[in-house]
């Protein structure tokens, strides 16, 4: 009953045989070993499992792996090039203490990538509205907002 799927994750092509009921988050974490994507609620509320599907932010706990056949996924592991070569957004979070336990952080980073592509200079209110789709229980959000502001500036500086 397994189905074979082919997809790109962080630019690498994978071909795997999976059960149709396998969740995308479980596929990424256990079949591909990309454990940077975290699962917080399994019902699409907390946003911890957010990844990009064809460059759009999606909840990987609400999708089956088979639904991503032939498509492109990006996870936090592909955002920069590891701890030594982080993405500008990751630097923003590091500088501003935008994380504590770090469990929700990968989902927040992935939510921000398409947001900042569309809106490279967001207001605080716009940032807070975007972030309201991701629950963080540690920080109280203030430093995340500051981290996004710095990350956006660093991204802008990079591209100019």
């Amino acid at each position: 009953m397994n189905q074979t799927i082919e997809l790109f994750v962080n630019g690498i092509q994978y071909r795997r045989s999976v059960e149709p009921r396998l969740l995308l988050c479980d596929f990424l974490r256990y079949d591909l070993g990309l454990t940077g994507t975290h699962v917080g609620c399994e019902h699409g509320v907390c946003g911890a499992c957010t990844v990009l599907l064809d460059r759009e932010a999606v909840r990987s706990c609400l999708l089956f792996a088979v639904q991503t056949n032939g498509r492109e996924i990006a996870t936090v592991e592909g955002l920069g090039d590891g701890p030594q070569q982080m993405h500008a957004l990751q630097h923003g979070f590091w500088e501003m203490h935008g994380l504590q336990c770090g469990y929700c952080t990968p989902g927040i980073l992935m939510s921000l990538v398409p947001f900042l592509e569309e809106n490279p200079d967001p207001s605080e209110e716009e940032i807070r509205e975007l972030l309201s789709g991701n629950i963080c229980r540690c920080t109280g959000y203030q430093k995340i907002v500051e981290a996004v502001q710095l990350g956006a500036r660093l991204l802008w500086e990079e591209s100019n």
């Binding site: 907390c46 030594q84 770090g102 991701n134 229980r137």
Partner: protein, 783 residues
């Protein structure tokens, strides 16, 4: 001179791993052939179990084993009592602790009846559908007062009542205070349950290596060493055969310390039984039942005052909801009892509580751990008194502060650490003044509030105080080692759940050894790397483990100076540690690197002096005689939408005193995060149990956690009154932000509706509840 790193807002050593998805969390542990566990949990809160049939589950393909209580044999034992009752004279205590799997009876919804081990999580969960439990439902014990009524159903029949404990503590003579007073006010207060809702649910991975005869457990625990010791004892293994690792943990907040969770015990047992590796990861729905909760209390309190607002005494009688079992002893209600006294001189105090068993999930400490309730009661009593005596809320507080020259200040009762409740230090008035200044209190009351009210707005201001007993014993330890690479490795037994220990502990060590914080590698929570310790709770990591770090680093510094003095032929006092080297002060040419020195200290040839220890290493312990008392003031300006009863927090100020600050960036994060949880507790989050003990909102869709749109920016400032009880002078800060928020909301709402004499006497609130309370106040007959 090396740039000072202690006290600086350094960014964290651990962040690059967390930011890039390279940090190991418990669910990331994957071992070859690993099996997966699912639990069959009761959906009834109170029922007799007539029979459990797991035969068809056992036959399902992909199922490796199914266990019920009967299958556990002698391993089935109630869990240990983690904290014994305190040495208080007037005490009654009935020990009932959780069991691995329910036998004969379930006592709360979500209690496990059977455990399925399967080849995948999907298969194990499938097999839960094949388990059949034949129940005889019983009436559930839900309401605290009904639980104590004659003829109430009993959670533990053999006790003959639902009383878990009764404790009375007194100071002075309440009756005398009452008779002497110009004003005595009586009030009833309710505080209801919420859940910590760490973003990472609990999880355990356990692996038994038959050839090495060793058990390795990865556990989302705040107390890995206690888990190691307990598991070894339960399984009949030596402590050296068990390694417990608390890897990166996605938020703790208290409930992750409730050792021993049934799952912790069962996974370890099954790994040995089946000679395998297995894993269980709690899902969010399970987390609402199977992880501990907090906050259900009902207080009947009274305050006695002089006409000028001087407090003569407080009397409080309260009921505490313990849930179905009470493994954590009386920590939570004792904290309520003790923290009520706050930063005030209360010469006479009578406090008695009854802890009550109910058919609800187990109660253990959750960030604040009972302190919220005490603060709420005292602050509300002061507000009610201020209104009656026509005093300003800030001024009645100022009037009753313990003066700075009165420390150490004894409250003559026993605290959760079993030590007398003696405040080590404090200076409350400067913090209050600073908070009033930052919130612009006087101008708001004089100008802004009347102007906005004239324009039809509902706006209120509030200022509340709290103290927090932090950094309690018994002890923690630390080992500091200078390696031949010149880098420093550090280990301690406490676990880390996001507090930044990898950085703050490194800052403590860097202060002594003169290396860059980024060259200090800290390990927390791996029992193979540090053997002794208690755990991360009670805002004690920085205080207790931090001072152990300081002691070990100071000793290593001594070894470095001694050896370097010999090598450089210089007196120790002429040397300085700077940027990873030891040099003669002001003479950088005469120096030796710490790496070279570490190699010299561990020679491969030649004799060493008798009694010499190899290497540049030291292990030290720190145990405070009692906790360090932190304190603070929160202030807020709140706007209520008079139609929807939604709130907007317009300004929020925190001025706090946690003694010496190790890393202000991390501290600010702790405070802001604590306030956010406090706001959730005050106005968003409430667990709703029905009369059968079923939880009505066990999902994040129905249990409302505040988001980035709900939490305001917080303005914070410090007052530093170093603790005299530890060399670093630090006090804990982890829980402070969450503690006074309910009281703050209540006062601000009262202020916004002072024209109708609204008096909020409960937390949590919600727009709907506020609508009801305002409606009641409007229709109340004038007094």
């Amino acid at each position: 001179m090396t740039t000072r790193q202690f006290g600086q807002p350094l960014k964290r050593n651990e962040d690059p791993r967390l930011l890039t998805g390279h940090a190991l969390f418990t669910d990331d542990v994957q071992l070859p052939g690993m099996l997966h566990v699912a639990f069959w949990r009761s959906d009834l809160a109170h029922a007799l179990i007539r029979s459990v049939d797991v035969e068809s589950a056992r036959k399902r393909p992909g199922v490796v084993a199914v266990y019920t209580a009967e299958d556990l044999g002698e391993f089935w034992q109630p869990g240990p009592l983690l904290v014994p009752p305190p040495p208080v004279e007037q005490l009654e205590f009935h020990q009932r602790t959780q069991v691995p799997l329910a036998k004969g009876k379930v006592r709360h919804a979500g209690e496990s009846v059977a455990m399925v081990v399967g080849e995948s999580r999907y298969l194990a969960e499938d097999a839960l559908d094949d388990v059949f439990v034949d129940y005889e439902p019983l009436e559930a014990v839900v309401d605290l007062e009904a639980a104590l009524a004659a003829g109430a159903p009993l959670v533990h029949e053999d006790l003959g009542s639902n009383v878990s404990a009764r404790v009375t503590q007194t100071k002075g003579d309440w009756a005398a205070a009452e008779s002497e007073a110009d004003l005595v006010l009586h009030r009833r207060f309710h505080y209801d349950r919420g859940t910590a809702a760490a973003m990472e649910n609990r999880g355990i991975a356990a692996s038994w290596d038959e050839r090495a005869q060793r058990l390795t457990v990865w556990d989302t625990t705040q107390a890995p060493i206690a888990i190691r010791n307990g598991l070894a004892a339960m399984l009949g293994l030596s402590e050296h055969q068990v390694r417990v690792i608390a890897p990166f943990i996605g938020g703790g907040f208290g409930p992750k310390i409730m050792m021993f969770y049934p799952e912790e015990v069962l996974l370890a047992w099954a790994a040995v039984q089946l000679n395998c590796s297995l894993k269980w990861i709690e899902d969010r729905e399970e987390n609402f039942y199977a992880t501990t909760q907090e906050r259900g209390q009902i207080h009947d309190a009274a305050i006695a005052l002089r006409r000028d607002g001087t407090v003569l005494g407080v009397r409080d009688r309260f009921l505490h909801d313990a849930g179905a079992y009470a493994p954590y002893g009386l920590t939570v209600p004792i904290n309520s009892q003790c923290t009520l006294l706050g930063p005030y001189v209360v010469p006479n105090y009578h406090s008695e509580f009854t802890s009550v068993f109910t058919n609800k999930p187990i109660v253990t400490p959750y960030r604040g751990a009972g302190r919220q309730h005490g603060v709420f009661v005292m602050e509300r009593l002061l507000d009610a008194a201020a209104r009656r005596l026509s005093l300003d809320p800030a001024e009645i507080r100022r009037k009753n502060f313990i003066p700075p020259e009165e420390f150490p200040f004894s409250n003559e009762i026993i605290y959760q650490d079993f030590a007398p409740l003696v405040y080590d230090s404090g200076n409350y008035e400067p913090a209050l003044d600073r908070a009033l200044e930052l919130i612009d209190y006087e101008r708001f009351k004089r100008e802004e509030q009347p102007r906005r009210e004239a324009a039809g707005e509902r706006v209120g201001i509030a200022v509340v105080n709290y103290i927090e007993g932090t950094g309690i014993g018994p002890y923690e330890g630390a080992r500091v080692t200078v390696e031949a690479s010149g880098k420093v490795s550090v280990a301690t037994g406490v676990g880390t759940q996001g507090q930044g220990h990898y950085t703050s502990f490194a800052q403590v060590v860097a202060e002594q050894i003169g290396v860059d914080v980024s060259d200090i590698h800290v390990v927390t929570g791996d029992t193979d790397l540090f053997y002794w310790g208690a755990g991360t709770f009670a805002s004690r990591g920085a205080v207790v483990a931090g001072n152990a770090m300081h002691a070990a680093a100071t000793k290593v510094r001594g070894k470095i100076l001694k050896l370097a003095g010999e090598k450089l032929e210089a007196a120790e006092e002429d040397l300085e540690l700077i940027e990873g080297r030891v040099q003669v002060k002001g003479v950088p040419q005469t120096s030796i690197s710490l790496g070279a020195l570490a190699a010299e200290a561990n020679p491969m040839r030649g004799a060493v002096q008798p009694g010499t220890e190899p290497g540049l290493e030291a292990t030290e312990y720190f145990g405070p005689e009692r906790g360090a008392t932190a304190s603070g003031v929160h202030a807020m300006v709140l706007r209520v939408d008079p139609d929807t009863f939604l709130l907007e927090i317009e300004r929020y100020v925190v001025v706090h005193d946690c003694g010496t600050v190790i890393n202000p960036l991390i501290l600010e994060g702790q405070i802001q995060g604590g306030v956010a949880q406090g706001i959730g507790n005050a106005f968003y989050e409430q667990l709703h149990f029905d009369e059968n003990g079923a939880l009505q909102n066990a999902s994040l869709m129905d249990y409302l956690l505040p988001t980035a749109s709900d939490i305001p920016n917080i303005v914070s400032d410090h007052v530093e009154t170093p603790s005299p009880l530890n060399p670093l002078g630090v006090k804990g800060a982890g829980e402070a932000g969450a503690i006074p928020v309910g009281a703050l909301f209540a006062q601000a709402l009262d202020d916004a509706y002072r024209d109708i004499e609204l008096e909020v006497r409960e937390i949590p609130l919600s727009p709907n509840r506020l609508f009801e309370l305002v409606g009641e106040a409007l229709t109340r007959e004038p007094a």
